[in-house]
Assembly symmetry: C2
């Protein structure tokens, strides 16, 4: 069974465990339905459409200023470049599975000449000791909260405070890769401002948990943001018009920023279902955000037909792919608006069926 | 009289000499009105929305392959970087008023470490001799057609052919900054394919003459485009969704690609009107595209109130700004859909009125 059969069957389902729904043109049309056609475009970073939203996000995050970027890739490279230039040190430290290290074709190195120091082992989050035991001087430490590639794990809030204090003492800037930062708040039981004040610069994605079309916010002190706008132009990110992303981000941010607690509760509930099946475990075992990874002990070749069948006969989207692991395979779940639309009885029936199917493999 | 009064009065006009109309949300809504909400988003450069348009543009330009970029700034820096890496030479040559030199905060230098060799004087286009007399080795020559900052002037087609031949002979790549390349075709009386085959790589803007929301096409050989996609990711330009720009570009490209001859004819007609006024001249005197610059012998302080008054009493948008020149001031006109909507009688009355007003300054 090919992977694409799995993907095809997933895309045909209208009820899905994860996400906010299909990424299609309706996301744009819905967001713009109530926006007047006479609203003026932003123009190369100016105009009320972009300036008002930047102000709103700076206030929300508790930072002096903020800037809207077309992508997080661009926003984060630029943040690190500014901190490196300020300290005249071309080294930064982050997790081995940071987005910058594995998903950006080495842009940080190839465009900015910045070297990365990798902290911690791949399969765990960064702890205070990883930072204090660095042998090299760095301009900035980047923390990704949650650590997406290991199922959205989080260090304790005390660890964050300790790392923040240490970095301030040692004159190391602390940057937050907060692509999914709102999703961490229910676990930490902190406000976004409390969390952000531990960091010198903060990035937040507009399309991950929030479900906009694309775009990112970078926030920090006024001078830092002023510099980031110059780099945004250099990167080719200062588009004449970013309003398709900004106005949709504004809509979905308003809709979803307060739903993260529900997503978190539902993620814990769903993970319990998976962990109750023999041959399946989740990472983390108990989710700390809306996200976790589902691991099967069996190979993708054995699991794909089962999920495909479930998707075909039950109209329940579980996953469109399976990642081969050293042993078995896995996929990622991020809870969004879709999960709550599925009748609990249907979820129960699916897991009973799945458990029976997995038995046939043994 | 402040400049902003001029801008305010301009923005309140509903008939304007230049452009396609206001850059507002209606541009997006109109383009998406007939697009089904079920159409899937592109995803990190993949999916039929982006792939089909790239194929369409490659075919249109007569190149093997093409890629959609969020901005021309990004597309062009990347094109030059690829050519520099290929030749292991970090120098490129272009006009002193190239977009890369004056509008990109030195991104080419700061991100790519590429040095620019400036060809020709500021106030004229690049000629063959400027290229053949270069004393330094360069990886690439960039020609901007038309040369926007000097009113959209063009070298002769024979000059383009000669520069192209010379560059091929000397193993120098030739890149086309064709942000407004469609606007040159009526003057050259050439097809887009004939023009593009003189160049190794071609950039075309999706929002200038075409009037989309933002975005750019970079076209060339297959391997060049494959490399450009890696750099697009490095720059942070490989957004999860570019469809708001792609689908609107597709709409307005279809609407306007064949109107360039009309815009060109109308630009020549309008320039005649301006040149007939004492104290005004256009650069170039006879436009070679849809664009020209209007120069006044008098200062902006004297001209602004006159244009403001015209805009207020006649509802005819002339310009929202005046650029101070060594002597007098100027503004740019690019003819689009709006000019043809103005009754000829109204244009005539405006110029008669303008001529009278200018007399009062002498």
């Amino acid at each position: 069974m090919s992977r694409s059969k799995l993907l095809d069957s997933y895309e045909q389902t209208t009820q899905q465990l994860a996400g906010h729904g299909p990424r299609n043109v309706a996301v744009l049309k819905d967001a713009f339905e109530s926006i007047d056609g006479k609203v003026s475009s932003d123009k190369y970073g100016q105009g009320s459409v972009i300036e008002d939203f930047q102000k709103q996000m700076a206030d929300f995050l508790g930072k002096e200023d903020a800037v809207f970027f077309p992508s997080g890739t661009m926003a984060q490279q630029i943040a690190l470049r500014i901190w490196c230039d300020e300290k005249n040190c071309k080294k930064v430290a982050y997790h081995p599975l940071s987005h910058l290290e594995i998903h950006e074709e080495d842009g940080l190195k190839k465009l900015h000449g910045i070297q990365s120091i990798l902290l911690a082992d791949k399969d765990r989050v960064i702890e205070l000791e990883d930072v204090t035991s660095m042998s090299e001087e760095v301009a900035c430490v980047l923390l990704e909260l949650p650590q997406r590639e290991i199922g959205g794990q989080l260090p304790s809030y005390e660890t964050l405070e300790a790392i923040s204090s240490y970095c301030r003492e040692k004159d190391i800037k602390l940057h937050l890769d907060g692509a999914r930062i709102l999703e961490c708040l229910p676990y930490y039981e902190k406000t976004i401002k409390e969390l952000c004040q531990l960091f010198d610069s903060v990035y937040l994605s507009m399309y991950k948990g929030i479900g906009g079309i694309a775009g990112a916010i970078l926030a920090g002190e006024r001078d830092f943001i002023a510099q980031s706008k110059i780099w945004k132009k250099r990167h080719g990110g200062d588009l004449i018009s970013l309003y398709p992303y900004i106005l949709s981000a504004e809509t979905y941010f308003a809709q979803r920023k307060n739903r993260m607690g529900d997503y978190y509760t539902q993620a814990k509930e769903l993970a319990l279902h998976f962990n109750a099946c023999e041959g399946i475990f989740t990472i983390p075992e108990v989710p700390v955000t809306n996200m976790f990874h589902v691991h099967f002990n069996e190979t993708p070749e054995k699991i794909a037909p089962i999920l495909t069948q479930a998707q075909e006969i039950m109209n329940l989207g579980v996953s469109g792919y399976l990642r081969k692991e050293k042993q078995g395979c896995s996929f990622e779940i991020s809870i969004g608006d879709q999960y709550q639309k599925i009748p609990q009885q249907k979820v129960k029936v699916f897991f009973e069926w799945l458990e029976e199917k997995l038995k046939t493999l043994r």
